[in-house]
């Protein structure tokens, strides 16, 4: 047993650090470090910088344009990006639809979509959830009816993250209502600019516009946009969910957040001394730090078995990873105290000169706390993850 990085790993880390130092634009870093809202251009710009380097899709096989990294190298890369304060690469194209296209798509789909995902030519969003199909995803109702060489799609998707910018959506649609609910579902790629597609914003509890409802009203989708076989979509959807195993734990980002929390708690005062020296607060921070140490070790243990097929252990990482993220957001607010209360959209939009608030750090903390209540709900609620652990791992 040896838990140290090899010389090659350390050299790789230095290479990543040097790249980030040179290529991460200062204004993007500023936005991420100060928790300002990111816009479409911000995401696209960073995506394309990584793409030029060949690093935008660490999980892809080399034949499709991936860098051919080991799982440990991918982990190091994630951690270094978090440490440097890069915007995230949105997962919908790179990590979600792309693996499905690679595994089940036609040659034409691979040739057309994969290069466009790498270059961010298309902004993708995910069309899984519906108003009546959340945790019970298979009860979805959006229909796709064959009409010559097209499907006619009708229905509604919801919680569609950043769909307001999207060019493409990958959807689960019902193509056979007459069979068991998991068996009549297909996996369809739909042009968001097609006639009959409407996007309606859902404003979240932090007053941000992050998710949307997407309506399909007699949208014509070429049959060539069906991935794999008709009525086999549920299989592909499950493949997609199991594909990204360890990134979901977000250890790198949480380590960065923990460092920020400590910086804040060293700066804020309680009883005339740094808050981090308050025994009650220090105990909460230490508890969280230890939990995060344990999660990192658990992630590394899973990575060490990465040669095995993707498995349900991702559920352990999702549950703990999101609980840690939420707890961090909670302690951040506690550390700021009453200063966290004023809400300042101007600050979040980077228009600081219009703000009436002096304490920059505090403005985004409460919105972030509210926003992060989502993490234990999305991607399969943590209760669903517990079902998966008990049924798939424990055999109950």
């Amino acid at each position: 047993m040896d838990l140290t990085y090899t010389g090659d790993d350390l050299a790789f880390r230095d290479q990543v650090r040097a790249f980030l130092e040179a290529e991460l634009p200062a204004d993007l870093r500023h936005k991420v470090e100060n928790r300002l809202r990111l816009h479409k251009d911000d995401y696209v710009r960073w995506h394309r910088i990584l793409a030029r380097q060949g690093w935008v899709a660490p999980g892809w096989p080399r034949e499709f344009g991936g860098p051919g990294w080991t799982p440990v190298q991918r982990h190091i890369f994630d951690e270094e990006c978090a440490r440097a304060g890069t915007p995230p690469v949105l997962p919908f194209g790179v990590n979600m639809v792309a693996p499905v296209i690679m595994a089940f798509g036609s040659q034409a789909q691979k040739d057309h979509y994969l290069p466009r995902i790498l270059s961010c030519e298309d902004w993708w969003c995910q069309g899984y959830s519906e108003p009546g199909a959340g945790s019970d995803l298979a009860s979805l109702k959006t229909t796709a009816v064959r009409d010559g060489d097209h499907y006619i799609v009708n229905g509604q998707k919801t919680w569609t993250t950043l769909a307001q910018h999207a060019d493409m959506i990958f959807c689960l649609v019902r193509t056979d209502p007459g069979v068991r609910k998991q068996e009549g579902i297909s996996f369809l790629l739909i042009d968001m600019h097609a006639p009959g597609v409407t996007v309606r914003p859902i404003v979240m509890l932090d007053e941000d516009h992050e998710v949307n409802e997407v309506f399909f009203d007699n949208v014509r989708v070429p049959v060539s946009n069906l991935v794999g076989q008709e009525n086999k979509g549920w299989t592909y959807a499950k493949y997609l969910l199991g594909h990204e195993r360890t990134g979901i734990a977000a250890v790198g980002r949480s380590k960065r957040e923990l460092a920020r929390l400590k910086t804040l708690a060293r700066r804020e005062q309680k009883d005339g001394r740094p808050l981090l020296q308050d025994p009650l607060f220090a105990a909460k921070v230490a508890d969280l730090e230890i939990e995060l140490m344990a999660l990192e070790m658990t992630v590394l243990r899973v990575l060490a078995e990465a040669h095995k097929a993707p498995g349900p252990e991702a559920s352990v990482l999702k549950v703990r990873g999101t609980e840690i993220q939420q707890r961090l957001s909670e302690l951040m607010v506690e550390a700021a105290g009453p200063l966290a209360l004023p809400f300042d959209p101007a600050y979040l939009e980077g228009e600081r000169e219009h703000s009436a608030i002096d304490d920059d750090f505090a403005a985004p903390l409460l919105p972030h706390y509210f926003n992060y209540r989502k993490t234990s709900i999305y991607g399969g609620s943590n209760e669903i993850q517990r079902n998966i652990i008990s049924q798939m791992i424990l055999g109950l």
Binding site: M1, D2, T6, V72, A282, D287, V316, I393, L396
Partner: protein, 386 residues
């Protein structure tokens, strides 16, 4: 990065599993626990034959130079088997002697399985703080005279030699001024009172009434015992984390088995979501605890190589805290899920719970180690350290 155990480590684990299955069954253990001495000479001979008493000892004294990861494997199996023999106490004592540098003859006998050790560290007022030492040691007439009372000395009455911490100078809670001694249990003025704990293991109160030992009884340097004391206690805490993990593994497996077989309302109770989610949470605790127990073992082994105690302190404190939390959660939930059967003496489940609870209170509880973790430079330090 490599998370695999070595082939020899896996073979050792297998040998221990086979021994427990054949000779140290739950019924056999019950008989041992109920016996007058509370331990088994036959079991001890087997542990010695398997090489376990020599495993972590220096090769110069008949040992195999095993590191903390080797010991992780052993302690995990002893935890799984609920073994009550004085192995932990003896290996902890050996760690004191190894670090002290002298007493090679004692180590020879430990390696050969001829000598058992115990560590008399805690006192009535000290709770988990091992630097709180009121026992006095006074140097006189070419030797030392000790007076004081040591509490809850694990396997103190089964040991041939006791490692004792005493204060030779300084105030009661000073780090400096602690002297460590290796004292024969039959030295004049040493009185042990043996007690059985509810987890089946033995602990003793040790009275030192003008106990007299020679100058050569000192372990390490007189007045400067703290470094050895702290390091050995960390080593012991690391071993306990591994033992707890083995016990949790076994308890978890027994509970899972129970959920699959026990029928209520016409189905196995494991079909109920309320219980499934409880098991899922126990599983998450177990895996997080496993990660931390492994980390502690690796850091202890690392310190043995590079001599830097900082990572060891941080990792062991974090591990003992996290494993302690998991032990409480897994232990309590396992009893709850076993229902009425869980609170009986009949099933192994309750005995695992008792052992886990005992481990939590040994060599520092959760609060103690959380406070220690906070006190390390890495906690308060700069952003890089986070």
């Amino acid at each position: 990065m490599d998370f695999n155990f070595k082939e020899e480590q896996l073979q050792l684990a297998d040998a221990l599993k086979r021994w427990v299955a054949r000779d140290y069954t739950f019924e056999a253990r019950r008989t041992i626990v109920g016996s007058a001495g509370g331990t088994s000479d036959a079991a001890w001979s087997t542990l010695a034959e398997l090489g376990l008493t020599a495993l972590p000892l220096p090769a110069a004294h008949g040992g195999f130079d095993g590191d903390a990861v080797d010991m992780f494997v052993v302690m995990q199996e002893l935890g799984r088997g609920l073994v009550v023999e004085p192995y932990f106490a003896t290996m902890l004592g050996a760690e004191f002697l190894r670090r002290g540098g002298a007493h090679g003859a004692l180590l020879d006998r430990v390696a050969g399985g001829e000598l058992k050790l115990a560590c008399a560290l805690g006192e009535r007022q000290s709770r988990h703080d091992l630097r709180d030492v009121a026992t006095r040691a006074v140097q006189e007439d070419g030797g030392w005279r000790l007076n004081g009372e040591k509490k809850v000395v694990l396997h103190g009455a089964q040991a041939g030699v006791l490692i004792v911490s005493a204060r030779s100078s300084g105030a009661q809670r000073d780090q400096d001024g602690i002297t460590l001694f290796a004292i024969p249990a039959d030295a004049p003025g040493v009185v042990t009172r043996d007690v059985r704990m509810l987890d089946g293991q033995r602990a003793a109160d040790v009275l030192l009434r003008d106990a007299r030992v020679g100058l050569d009884a000192v372990v390490g340097t007189a007045g400067a015992g703290w470094d050895i004391l702290e390091a050995a206690a960390d080593y012991g805490a690391g071993l306990l984390c591994a033992e707890a993990l083995g016990a949790m593994d076994a308890l978890f497996a027994a509970t899972l088995d129970y959920l699959k077989t026990r029928q209520q309302f016409g189905v196995p109770i494991g079909k109920f979501q309320a219980l499934q989610h409880r098991m899922a949470d126990m599983y998450v605790h177990l895996e997080q605890a496993r990660s931390m127990a492994l980390l502690a073992a690796v850091r202890l082994a690392g310190e043995a190589r590079d001599g830097n105690p900082e990572e060891r302190r941080r990792a062991v404190a974090a591990a003992k805290y996290r494993v302690g939390q998991a032990a409480r959660f897994v232990g309590q939930q396992a009893i709850q899920l076993h229902g009425g059967m869980g609170v009986t003496d009949e099933l192994p489940a309750s005995h695992y719970f008792k052992r886990l609870s005992t481990i939590e209170l040994t060599l520092g509880d959760c609060d103690h180690h959380l406070a220690r973790f906070i006190a390390q430079p890495g906690f308060y330090g700069d952003e890089e350290a986070a």
